[in-house]
Symmetry: C2
Subunit: 672 residues, 2 copies
């Protein structure tokens, strides 16, 4: 992909070289340190625990100015990439939902996690996380005992986000290590009773207290409330936006002139009352999501634009590989994956490829992105197939996008419950002509012959299939016959019942469409993006940088006047206005500190470019241009610099190209 | 204002003339018919009752594609107009809120409406709406009886949005009419017991059943829930986003380098469990709002940009006028209003003027916009002053933006509750030097002299003011003296107590900022905008048009190929791509119906411009350009038309100017 090479300059963890005048940047001089990143994000108010001055509430976070802006830019790009590109119908539906909707959708009965209680303290733990966490700790202890501790396995990193289980260096039997590894590879696949069984079998206890835990119980993850002043109308906060699409299906279909396929899309807040969230933005109780519901003919899941993505190579981890106890990905073009049946159909494949493109475009490291297929027990109750886009981060691999085939599940259950047809009616090009044997009673004779039992007879004949009717027709042609129904005998004659062959012409096909649903958790994407973007300067570990792509950075260009003195005001105004006209969002930092400090502060916010206005600018109308990652500086006439930085932000040129357009700056004024 | 004249072309209810080739449009040929507008909005899925196939829930609505898009465009313009223009700090905070926050903020105790119950059926009604509704019906009956029914007063329209009270033509005593009118002019000003008193005094009953109603009771409008698996942590859905700003005040102040004034801003969903909502988008239980919290020095509420808005004229309705029983607005520049003390300060005035500009920019008719000041009892518990931007619509005058001075209320109560200082610390330019008399006891002598009573003496002296200390100092200089405290006598001597004059230097000023809060309900703005934009073609009342300004229309340009035939594809692609490059959102309608019908359909969606591609386009590369309101058409080379329509959408030219750039189209192909 060309995209990848363009983005290369923005990705951390790599060494960037460029033409001779440019600096060499070693982004992996210091190993990634989550605590440094967290401190930066907290200090610069990307986000913070909500209600912090009240002690906070687990799983609830507020986004400050840079976090809000980063999220808004990710969402804006999402709208362009998905909604505008594929002409999706955007919706904005209601969060507060009356209970009957989620009773029908299955969420009241089944949208639950398994929890266990500490038998002595009553503390509540999520059962699958407990099992995973304790077994991982034992494996880590085993490796330590065997002197292998330096190389923790990928999956072991998962433990950091869960309740910590203490690692004790105890060697395990080789067989047991194999067993534990096998359990962990399919950790998502266990039912509640199975998790209880594992707890008993391996004596898994609450790591905080070493007490035993009780039997797993289901805890529904929806927040409950009630609507109206009488308290008689129970409601739930939606745990996904999807039901809002399904309930409006007929209106959407109508808006699309009755034609499928089409997709609706929505960005909005959803709520899940997680049992014990402790993983920052990765597991929260309230989150902004983007959901697409693509409605498609169940008999034709091809996609008209699949050829455009066919050659894109994805990292795939299918369910068979996982069930076999492995987490080894396969790199394969989506075309091949669909051809070989690994991915079920073109529409699902199209979305996986588009998701891949989107995530890379906003700055996710493609080497830390994989698509993992759900195993049987892991799937949500409404899904028949599901692939997650998982992004690797300090806590392991995290699901950031789910792409589920919900089949006709939701439309069917809502239609059955409400009696509203949620179907597509399609004019057939060629009417389908069929012939059928049709029974017809002579009502008058029927009534006289059987009175109140007439209904029983009619029902019985009405339920006959074509073969039975043909046989009966033959018998009637012989004169008369007898059938029994509900323990009664009925004698049939041609004056009572005639069976005739009739021709039927069907010109409309009616069907319930299937739904392919890509579902994005923006908070998780945002957090993993921040991790992938963070590094520290080789010469000074205290100087953190967020190498976010310009497309998503809160500020594109920082304007730095030498000081807040009035003489710089006209130039600051001029540059700021010209950038705004070019559609570039800039910010002025005229605070009372050195230029170097101001740049360092904005490296932490991810601002990719900075321009400095000094006395030379006032005299000669020149301006320097600084690039965030290399800290290299160029110089040129103000308008030339604006032209170059505009192209840099729009992505039509990269920094090496900019270095060929403007001379390097080697002025006496040290800014770094 | 220039803005007003530019927008003139988009405002309905006026007659538009222009240069000779242009059509005359009479937008008020048909009187406004709310049922026609409602039918259009429902048919084209601007919005619809949420959970409609489940029978719906009062006060909950879903936005379909055109409604979502219109709302998104209004919000995008809001962000530009307020956040970007004034460098506000954007936030995105949490909806689910632990109960202690709203206990402190006063919402648990006081965020309530008064409801009454029908004494027989138990039906619940909002008390103030009941009183207003019944008295309005009686006044309408009176006017009918007097033969004056044709001219209902403005406020009387309010009844449509409430539970309908039947109008019976009964003439009232002149005095009673006066009384009712007086009550209605201050309808917002009554407490619950007063509303109960009015019900008894005027025998106000439930209009549906004619039963009496009980005493008004308070009903809290917040939706309750609980957080976490144990059910021990009660929470509420926020009824406003504001608390999220206040709780993050210290972080925001820090982000702004410790300086005030600054403003934070947030767009987000809020929830109010309304008692019996029946007014479409005007009274809902879940809504998207935009809130700005402008933090300002309580001793200096001037605004550095007030001079930019000083001359803007507003329609003001202050509290004194209302209490006197009138609803007569005054037209006055905001500069004069602040100078005369009608609007309390520059910051409040700045925001009223900016709100006015914003609403007019997006298409609200300035003649149907007023600013009304809250009366004493009407104000929210946190406000010391409040002006509402009210917009007139078929149901009366509706509050669409509130602009409250919350003073230091919120920061003070949260700080007192949590012990966290929510203050600004400002270095004083000149330290303040003060001298004070300071008492000092000789602890040893004191203990020996008074033992356990020493504390009583110390407290008594410690509480003395400067005058008392000066007098005591004088007495001690005489040798000794006596004071009494808590019924005891204490003898004082210079060896026990010395009083000395000391110098104090204060270099930091610490204060709790005040908050000015403009708060926008986007659903109400959106609905009133749709009303102000709607009219029907003079020649055909069935053909509705939404004359929305291009800045907010869901689609800016409709591309209409003569048919879906392949030969038009390259041109459609070309025009579509060129418009996208110019930043113009277009849509193609190649559906299988006449061009006229396609345009009519898009008039209903408010699409301001359309371009038609036909055989002439293929042969000569020309294209026609149609304007929505006049239905006039121009013609020109494709690139010229794109240039003109780009300027039209950007607002740099208007339609009359476009008519001078391109020749009128009078081709044989009739498209209207």
């Amino acid at each position: 992909m060309r995209l990848r090479s363009f983005l290369h300059q923005f990705l951390p963890q790599r060494r960037c070289y460029s033409h001779s005048t440019m600096s060499v940047v070693n982004k992996s001089a210091h190993p990634f340190d989550k605590s440094r990143l967290d401190a930066l994000l907290n200090r610069r108010f990307f986000y913070a625990p909500a209600f912090e001055i009240y002690g906070g509430v687990a799983g609830l976070y507020d986004y400050g100015p840079p976090g809000s802006s980063l999220q808004a830019n990710i969402i804006a790009e999402w709208r362009k990439h998905f909604i505008v590109e594929d002409h999706m119908l955007e919706l904005d539906t209601t969060i507060m939902t009356p209970a009957p909707v989620f009773e029908t959708s299955g969420h009241v009965a089944r949208f639950a996690d398994w929890m266990v209680k500490d038998t002595k303290t009553g503390d509540v733990l999520r059962a699958d996380h407990l099992v995973k966490n304790v077994l991982q700790a034992r494996l880590a202890g085993d490796r330590e005992a065997r002197g292998l501790a330096a190389q923790p396995k990928d999956d072991e990193k998962d433990k950091k986000k869960k309740k910590k289980a203490k690692t004790v260096a105890v060697q395990l039997a080789d067989d047991l290590v194999k067993e534990f590894e096998n359990i962990l590879a399919q950790a998502h696949n266990y039912s509640g009773p199975e998790l209880g069984e594992l707890c008993r079998k391996y004596d898994i206890r609450n790591p905080d207290t070493d007490n035993e835990v009780g039997e797993p119980q289901q805890f529904n993850l929806m927040f409950a409330s009630s609507i109206g002043p009488t308290g008689q109308h129970p409601g739930f906060l939606r745990p996904e936006t999807a039901q809002g699409h399904f309930l409006n299906f007929s209106r959407l279909l109508d808006f699309n002139n009755g034609r499928v396929p089409f997709a609706s899309a929505q960005v909005g807040r959803s709520f899940r009352n997680e049992i014990s969230p402790r993983a920052g933005l990765l597991r929260v109780r309230e989150f902004t999501m983007g959901e697409i519901e693509h409605f498609v003919d169940p008999e034709d899941k091809s996609h008209s634009k699949f050829h455009q993505v066919r050659d894109i190579v994805l990292s795939l981890l299918d369910r068979h590989v996982q069930v076999s106890g492995s987490t080894q990905v396969t790199h394969m073009s989506i075309g091949e994956a669909v051809d070989r049946g690994i991915v079920a159909n073109e529409t699902l494949g199209y979305f996986l490829a588009r998701i891949n493109l989107f995530l890379i475009k906003i700055g996710i490291n493609p080497d830390r992105l994989r698509f993992r297929q759900h195993m049987g027990n892991e799937m949500a109750h409404y899904a028949t197939d599901c692939w997650d886009a998982e992004i690797e981060n300090a806590t392991g691999w995290t699901e950031c996008v789910g792409c589920a085939d919900r089949a006709a599940y939701d439309l069917s259950v809502h239609s059955a419950k409400t009696g509203q047809p949620l179907v597509v009616r399609q004019a057939l090009k060629e009417p389908v002509v069929t012939e059928k044997e049709v029974p017809e009673f002579n009502k008058k004779v029927l009534g006289m012959a059987y009175g109140r039992d007439a209904g029983v007879l009619q029902k019985s004949v009405g339920e006959m299939d074509q073969a039975q009717l043909t046989r009966l027709k033959g018998e009637l042609a012989q004169g008369s016959t007898t059938i029994s129904a509900q323990g009664k005998e009925f004698s049939l004659t041609p004056d009572l019942l005639t069976i005739q062959r009739k021709t039927f012409k069907q010109s409309i096909r009616e069907f319930t469409p299937n739904v392919i649903e890509p579902s994005f958790g923006f908070g998780r994407i945002l957090y993993t993006l921040l991790e992938h973007s963070f590094w520290c300067r080789e010469q000074d570990i205290e100087r953190g940088v967020l190498s976010l792509p310009p497309i998503v950075t809160p500020t594109k260009v920082l304007i730095v006047p030498l000081s807040a003195k009035e003489e710089f005001d006209p130039l600051v105004q001029e540059v700021s206005t010209k950038l705004r006209k070019a559609g570039i969002f800039s910010r002025v930092d005229d605070s009372n500190t050195s230029i170097g400090k101001r740049y360092a502060r904005n490296d932490e916010l991810g601002t990719p470019f900075g321009v400095t206005l000094d006395f030379a600018s006032v005299q000669n109308r020149t301006m320097t241009l600084r690039e965030r990652d290399t800290t290299d500086q160029l110089i040129g006439p103000i308008d030339d610099v604006i032209a170059v930085v505009t192209e840099l932000v729009q992505g039509t040129i990269n920094w090496p190209a900019a270095c060929q357009r403007l001379p390097a700056y080697d002025g006496v004024q040290a800014v770094d």
